[in-house]
Amino acid sequence: MLAMIGRRLAAALPSIAGVVVVTFLLTRLLPGDPAAYFAGPAATPQAIEEIRQRLGLDQSVPAQFLTYLGDLARGEFGLSLTTGLPVMQELVTRLPASLELTLAGLLFAVAVAVPLGILAAVRAGSWIDHATRIVATAGVSLPTFFTGLLLVHVFYSVLQVAPAPMGRLDIFSSTPPPVTGLYVLDALLAGDGETALAALAQLALPALTLGIFALAPLARMTRAAMLAALGSEFVRAARASGLSRGRIVWVYAFRNAMLPVLTTLGMVFSFLLGANVLVEKVFAWPGIGSYAIEALIVSDYAPVQGFVLTMALLYVLLNLAIDILYGIVDPRVKVES
C-alpha cells in the first residue's frame, strides 16, 4: 500500500512540474501591466519603472522563472500586490473554507444521489426512476450561480429562514479554535454547539448549491452502475442460490456498482473545486476561489499562481485518495498496479 502511494506520488511529479511552468508562463501573459496598475493612473513613468524593478519584472523571463522556482522551493508563493499579505498565508487560511464548502456539497450530493440512483435502478421504470431523472436533469441544467441566487432569494429574502449570505459565520459568533479549519467540525470539537449551528446555517445554502450541481452525474452513474450489476450473471447466480434480496442488492450488486461511482465521485469532486469559484462569489465565502478571482481581475499574479498550484496538488491528492479507496473495494486492483 505505502509503495503504491509512493509510486503514485512520484508519477504525479512531472505533471506538477508542468503546472509550475504553465502557471508561471500564463501569469506573465496575463493582459495588463501590473506595475502600471499598482502605480495608479497618475503615476509618472519613473514611478512605474521603480515598481517594476521592485517586483522584479525588469529582469529577463528565465531569470524571473529561476527566482520563482527558488521561492517555491522555500514554500513562498510571493506577496499579493493588492493586500500586501503573503499568498501562502492567505491560501492556508482560505483553503479550509473552500474545502469545507466542497466537502459539505459533496456529502449532500452523495447522501441524496446514491440512494436515489439505487432506488431508481432497483425499481427501474417506476415513478422514483422518473423522479430521479427529472431531479438529475434539473440539477445539471441550472448554472450554479443561478441556483445559488435562487436559494438566497427563497430562503433568505422570502422565507427568512437562512442567514445572510455573508461568509462563514455571522458577526455574533466567534471563530472556533482552529483544529481542522472546518468551522462546523472545529466548533463541535470545542463542544460549542451554538457556533457549530451558526456555522452550519451559513454553510447550508452554498453547500446545497454545489450539491445540487453534483447530484446529476452521481445519481446517473449510480443508477447505471446498479442496473449493470443487477443485470449481471453473478446476480443471476446469486438469485439462483436463493440469497435474500437485501443481500443481493447490497453485497452483490451495490459493492460492484460502487467502483464506477467512486471514479465519478473523484471527477465530481474536482469539478466542484472549480465550481466553487462562482458559489464563493455569490455567498461572499472567503475561500481560495474568490481570492483567485479577485486577484485575476487586477493582474495580481502571485495569488493566481498559488491558487492554480494548490488546485493541482489537491487534484493529485484527490486522485490518490480515490485510487486507495478503489483498491480497498476492488481486490483486482492490487495485482494490476
Binding site: 450473471e233 453473478f234 446469486a238 438469485r239 439462483a240 442460490s241 443481500r247 481486490p331 495485482v335
Partner: protein, 331 residues
C-alpha cells in the same frame, strides 16, 4: 416408472417483452426428470435452453413472463409458489451452474465467502462452521489446497477452477436437482472432460438428478439417459438417448445427428443444417417452427398449434412434435 417425476415441466410458455415486440421464447415446453436421473437438453444457440432453465429456477429477466404452463418440483407447483417459498428452495432443493463460471461469481468477493453466503442462507451456518463446510465443498470438487483457495478471488482462479467453485456452491446444500447450463463451454478439452466427470460422479454419489444443457449431442449421449431436443422455443423431440440416436423421429434431430461428429464417421460427411431459427417476434409463427428449414414440410405443418405425438417404449415414452415424423431405421 410409477413414482411421480422429481421435476415435471408442462406446456410452459415464456414471452419476453422487448422494444421490437414480444419474443415468444418458449412455447408449450414439456419434459420430466425422475429422481436421480440425468437428462440433456440440446439445441442450437437461441433455441431456448437457458430460458427454460431460468423459468424453472424462477430467475427470468424482468422482461420475461411465464404466460402459461406448470412446473412441478417434488409435487409442488413452483409457478404458484410464493416468492419467499421459491427463494427458500433455490440453492437448497434445486440449484444451477452457469455457462460462464467466471461471470457467475461475484468478482470482488472471495469464493469462500460466496459459498458461506449460501450456507448462511439455507443452513444458518455462520463463521468458522460455514468456513469449514465451504472448505469441505472445495475439497469435494477436487480443488487442491482448499483452505488457501477459500480466500481466493475469482480472478485469481482459472476458468475450470471457477466452474468447480460454482459446482461447490451449487451443491453446498445437497440439492435434489442440478441444472447445468452449458457447464463446459469456454473451457479447454481436458478441463471439459474433468468437469463433466465431476458432475456425473457427484450426481451419482448423491442421488442427484441432473439436467445437462448443451449444444453438443456427443456430450449428451455420453452422460445422459434421456435427451430433450429443443428448436426455436419448442421441444421437438424427447426420447431415451439410445433410441434417439438409433432412430431420430424429428427431421431436426436427424439433421442435428448428421451434423454431429461421431466415431466412425468422416468429417466431410457432416452436414450443416440449412437456414436459421425463425424470428420469434413474428405474430404468425407456424405450429412447426422448423418448417422453413425442413425438406419434408407441407401444409399441415402450418397449423397454428401442433400436438406432440407420444409413443410408449420400454425405456419410457417418446415424444415428437412433427406431423410427418421419420419412421425409418437408423439415420
Amino acid at each position: 416408472m410409477t413414482a411421480p417425476p422429481l421435476l415435471a415441466v408442462g406446456d410452459l410458455s415464456v414471452t419476453f417483452r422487448t422494444r421490437a415486440g414480444p419474443v415468444k421464447a418458449l412455447e408449450r415446453v414439456s419434459f420430466a426428470v425422475d429422481k436421480g436421473e440425468t437428462i440433456a437438453i440440446v439445441g442450437e444457440s437461441g433455441s431456448g435452453k437457458s430460458v427454460t432453465a431460468q423459468a424453472i429456477m424462477g430467475i427470468l429477466d424482468p422482461a420475461g413472463r411465464v404466460e402459461a404452463g406448470r412446473v412441478y418440483f417434488a409435487g409442488l407447483d413452483l409457478l404458484r409458489a410464493s416468492a419467499s417459498e421459491l427463494a427458500d428452495m433455490r440453492g437448497r432443493e434445486f440449484a444451477m451452474i452457469f455457462q460462464n463460471p467466471r461471470g457467475a461469481l461475484n468478482p470482488i468477493r472471495t469464493v469462500g465467502d460466496q459459498i458461506a453466503d449460501v450456507l448462511a442462507r439455507h443452513e444458518h451456518l455462520k463463521g468458522a462452521a460455514a468456513r469449514d463446510r465451504a472448505m469441505e465443498m472445495l475439497a469435494l470438487v477436487k480443488i487442491t489446497d482448499p483452505r488457501r483457495r477459500l480466500d481466493a478471488y475469482p480472478f485469481e482462479l482459472s476458468g475450470g477452477m471457477c466452474q468447480r467453485v460454482m459446482i461447490a456452491l451449487a451443491l453446498a446444500c445437497r440439492p435434489a436437482l442440478l441444472i447445468a447450463d452449458e457447464p463446459t463451454t469456454g473451457l479447454d478439452v481436458t478441463t471439459q472432460a474433468a468437469i463433466m466427470d465431476l458432475i456425473g460422479e457427484l450426481g451419482r454419489s448423491r442421488g442427484m438428478a441432473t439436467v445437462l444443457i448443451t449444444h453438443d449431442l456427443g456430450l449428451a449421449a455420453e452422460h445422459c439417459g434421456r435427451i430433450v431436443v429443443m428448436h426455436a422455443g419448442h421441444v421437438v423431440e424427447d426420447a431415451p438417448a439410445a433410441q434417439l440416436f438409433a432412430a431420430p423421429r424429428h427431421p431436426y434431430t436427424a439433421k442435428l445427428l448428421a451434423a454431429t461428429p461421431r466415431p466412425g464417421r468422416h468429417l466431410e460427411d457432416l452436414e450443416a443444417i440449412p437456414g436459421g431459427l425463425p424470428d420469434l417476434r413474428r405474430a404468425d409463427l407456424p405450429g412447426c417452427r422448423f418448417l422453413e428449414r425442413c425438406d419434408r414440410a407441407g401444409e399441415p405443418c402450418r397449423a397454428p398449434a401442433l400436438d406432440a405425438i407420444v409413443t410408449p417404449s420400454p425405456d419410457g415414452e417418446r415424444r415428437v412434435l412433427c406431423v410427418r415424423p421419420l419412421m425409418g431405421l437408423a439415420a
